[in-house]
């Protein structure tokens, strides 16, 4: 039986399959050239890759986000692309049936997806127990046997997101593995929640090349986390001009820079400006919401307060003026409404991109 015939038996027609791969690569902005290569690699894998998906100290938001994909569809993702052997939110079995699925998967060559943080030490094990066992121990056991680990969402990545700011001793997957001396490769896909295109693209990359993609210092694939949001922000021109949004009601300010509302774009590496969320429906900045920096290890505690401009975020041209003065200038301007951008522009003048970068 040829490789494709076997795939067909898995419930995927060749046409559907090529469509799926093409749609996925297109959604990721990968060149069309990769399509045959990716298709070939997936076919060569013979089986849909077995996936064990563990949920620790999580909110199920990353599962929900993965299921928000429309291209490929959620059904294609969970039934055609992957063989999801263990996933508490979608699997049929409970209790001993779920445990059976977990044990069986351990015997295979599986990819481990982890959603949520883990207690860092035995002292905090009680904060997350599954099947009567500490989640931390389940994670260590599965991590040792997995081919590769994909940590999804800020909670599972460096800094552990919001749980990382709490007192329950939560840490990310890679940190636990470092502490335990486990060498299984970890790919971090932060954001709160994970972006479906990032997850699907990473799995596709792994299947195509049979290796972990190039990662940055926070363990994130450079292809998705290699560029600064601020550099790709459609509002960047307004930032340079000193056009800052102070009133969400004002249609004139609608596309203005959100830095005074606390935007963390200048410190955040993510492709959100290029690849939007929910089938390209929207993303935070387009919705007038300041970026919270959720793809960074400093998220959440290091970036709080989220809705105030912090000193580490400097404005163009007035970077040399101390932050209090800027506050006064902007605060006074806000009172006269639309005048704000004019005043800020006059106060700052324009900066060359190079100068500005040094400011950031």
């Amino acid at each position: 039986m040829g490789n494709f015939d076997l795939l067909k038996v898995k419930g995927v027609s060749r046409r559907d399959f090529m469509k799926l791969i093409a749609a996925t690569t297109a959604a990721l902005g990968l060149p069309e050239l990769i399509v045959p290569q990716a298709a070939n690699a997936v076919e060569k894998a013979l089986n849909k890759p077995p996936v064990m998906w563990l949920e620790g100290m999580d909110c199920t938001g990353c599962t929900e986000s993965a299921l928000a994909t429309l291209n490929p569809s959620p059904a294609e993702l969970i039934l055609d692309m992957l063989s999801i052997r263990y996933h508490e939110t979608v699997m049929a079995g409970s209790g001993h049936k779920a445990e059976e699925a977990y044990q069986d998967t351990l015997k295979e060559k599986f990819i481990l997806v982890v959603e949520g943080s883990t207690p860092g030490t035995a002292k905090d094990d009680s904060f997350c127990m599954i099947g009567g066992r500490p989640f931390r121990k389940i994670l260590i056991e599965a991590a040792q046997k997995a081919q590769a680990i994909i940590a999804i969402g800020s909670c599972a990545c460096e800094g552990a997101g919001i749980p990382g700011a709490c007192e329950s001793g939560a840490i990310g997957v890679a940190e636990l593995l470092r502490n335990e001396g486990i060498k299984t490769p970890v790919i971090n896909l932060p954001c709160c929640p994970v972006k479906p295109a990032t997850l699907i693209g990473t799995i596709l990359y792994y299947l195509t090349y049979q290796k972990v993609p190039p990662l940055d210092s926070q363990g994130r694939p450079v292809v998705f986390y290699g560029s600064l949001l601020h550099d790709n922000c459609p509002r960047r021109g307004h930032f340079e001009n000193g056009d800052f949004l102070t009133d969400w009601n004002d249609p004139i300010q609608k596309e203005y820079c959100l830095i005074l509302k606390g935007c963390k774009g200048p410190k955040t590496y993510t492709d959100c400006a290029q690849v939007w969320w929910n089938d390209n429906a929207n993303y935070c900045i387009n919705a007038g919401s300041p970026c919270s920096g959720c793809s960074e290890k400093d998220f959440y505690a290091g970036f709080s307060p989220l809705y105030a401009k912090q000193e580490m975020f400097k404005l163009p041209g007035i970077g040399q003026v101390d932050a209090d003065t800027v506050g006064v200038v902007i605060g006074g301007a806000a009172a006269v409404g639309l005048g704000v951008h004019l005043i800020a522009t006059a106060a700052s003048g324009r900066l060359s991109k190079k100068d500005h970068k040094e400011d950031m």
Binding site: P50, I78, V90, S117, S168, A281, A287, S289, Y307
Partner: protein
């Protein structure tokens, strides 16, 4: 007597363990155990209050939007913000769209596998091309020996539907609903930034100034949802509930507490007087007497929870510190009580308070008793009502957008006040949700949430009275100890969310009387 433990209890949000004692084939005692704790509220203390909408939004990614919304309602009061009509309506639309996501997802993807024998699809003999494609797909999975995640599972029992025609239709709708839930999230995201974990809802209103194009895109997606909800989701629930599952429905399996609570929610006016979901309390199953909600009757017990006991009993006066060594305690969930009694919240409670004629007629005609099946029916019915009402919200929004001073945010009250407090009490997909905030020195002094699953999945209270689910499990038939499928049916009928239910509640000294119920 035999003990049955189900852990992990899957296809719910979060981590849940159920322990029951079975005697003569029936449950005689039950313990409901939440097994994960993060501690989000104490982390909020001392922070900029505006962060709370963002942080609490992330309590749960399934009821996305719910916590951010309740938080904004609490902060609006604490800040003295007057949310303009545009902001109020857009918030309602963001969360409304998530009802259209949550409820069908709960029925098809979290619950249906307990009621159908998926493998009966292989026996489908009909000619419908769509259903034949579904048959083809499932048969191929079976042939390949890879039916995950549809297996392993509990064995189908006497109540399982195994009619090939019906099952194949259900599986086809399972796949269709997977697409529709993604589209509902997309719809919400049009105003919300993204889903899950929207960013648009902030204190004072929303951040997304809409265009007519976006409103019309939302409307067209809403029509597609309505088509699915009315012609597929509601019909499937009725086909199953009044067909093969009628014996379960009439026996009221999983009935539980006869008390029901709805705070009311989704204001259709700026004063919060005209609510889509009505506020009310039903005691002892007396549907002819809907009582007003009195927040002073809300108390919380912790004798059986892993928290230290406190002098105060109301959510505003209690003092709660985790105590993992506590003797007799068995869960991270606390025990809220209304007028001293365990009380059910959620779609069934809302519909019994609201009593829409269409649903009440079905209940009367088929003699359906409160229980697992009734919960599914109430959930489907309120989804239909919600979707229809949302059309009128869109009209109202467009009317507002046409006015010269259209506004979405109270900019005057954006900065945190020196002091303030507020409660945001509303209805979210899983039931009555309350957020309570106290601001001092421009920072959060106290923050707490009383969450739907905390009500429904509470443990025994200080008097030893079991919580609503613990009561609902008593008497549930378990003929085969290795196959406790009826237990998971009852548990899932509440659509539990354990990530929501478990959080540390802070010491607070808020003045109860100042909190108002209903918007």
């Amino acid at each position: 007597m035999a003990k049955v433990v189900i852990d992990p209890l899957t296809r719910i949000e979060g981590h849940l363990r159920i322990e029951v004692e079975v005697e003569n084939g029936k449950v005689v005692d039950a313990h409901v155990i939440g097994t994960m704790y993060r501690g989000i509220e104490p982390m909020l203390r001392g922070r900029d209050p505006r962060d709370a909408t963002y942080v609490t939004e992330r309590v749960c990614g399934v009821c996305a939007g719910s916590h951010g919304w309740a938080s904004s309602l609490a902060l609006d009061k604490a800040f003295g913000a007057n949310v303009p009509a545009g902001g109020r309506i857009i918030r309602n639309l963001i969360v409304g769209a998530m009802y259209l996501h949550d409820h069908p997802l709960h029925f098809y993807h979290l619950s249906a596998l307990d009621y159908i024998d998926v493998m009966a699809v292989a026996q489908y003999q009909g000619k419908d091309p769509g259903l034949l494609a579904v048959k083809d797909k499932i048969v191929r999975l079976v042939t390949a020996g890879d039916t995950a995640p549809l297996t392993p599972r509990y064995k189908p029992d006497d109540f399982s539907v195994n009619d090939p025609e019906l099952v194949t239709m259900a599986v086809a709708h399972y796949l269709k609903a997977l697409e529709m839930q993604a589209k509902a999230k997309k719809m919400s995201a049009l105003f919300a930034g993204k889903q899950p974990h929207q960013s648009s809802i902030v204190v004072g209103g929303v951040t997304m100034l809409p265009t007519i194009q976006v409103v019309e895109q939302f409307r067209s997606m809403l029509f597609e949802q309505i088509e699915f909800i009315e012609k597929t989701y509601l019909q499937d629930v009725l086909t199953f509930g009044t067909g093969p599952l009628l014996p379960l429905a009439q026996a009221g399996v999983g009935g539980g507490s006869p008390h029901y609570l709805s705070y009311g929610g989704f204001a259709r006016d700026n004063e919060g007087k005209d609510l889509f979901f009505k506020a009310g309390v039903i005691m002892d199953g007396n549907l002819s007497k809907i009582l007003a909600v009195d927040e002073k009757k809300i108390t919380e017990d912790v004798q059986y929870s892993w928290y230290k006991a406190s002098a105060g009993k109301t959510p505003y006066t209690e003092d709660t510190i985790p105590d993992l060594e506590k003797k007799g305690a068995y869960t991270f969930v606390k025990a809220p009580r209304y007028d001293g009694k365990p009380i059910e919240v959620g779609p069934l409670a809302r519909m019994l308070v609201m009593q829409p004629k269409g649903l009440m007629d079905i209940i009367a005609k088929y003699n359906i008793k409160p229980g697992a099946v009734a919960r599914h029916a109430a959930r489907a019915y309120e989804t239909v009502l919600m979707a229809q009402d949302m059309l009128t919200w869109l009209d109202a929004l467009e009317k507002e957008m046409g006015s010269k001073d259209f506004r979405i945010h109270d900019t005057e009250h954006w900065e945190a006040p020196a002091t303030g407090q507020g409660a945001g009490m509303t209805e979210v997909p899983r039931g009555s949700l309350g957020h309570f905030v106290k601001v001092a020195d421009h920072k959060i002094e106290n923050y707490q949430m009383v969450v739907p699953t905390t009500w429904n999945f509470s443990p025994r209270d200080d008097k030893g009275v079991p919580g609503p689910l613990e009561q609902a499990l008593i008497g549930v038939p378990v003929p085969d100890l290795d196959n406790p499928v009826n237990i998971v049916r009852v548990v899932r009928s509440y659509d539990p969310c354990l990530a929501c239910a478990i959080h540390l509640i802070d010491p607070v000294t808020n003045n109860v009387q100042k909190f108002q119920i209903g918007w």
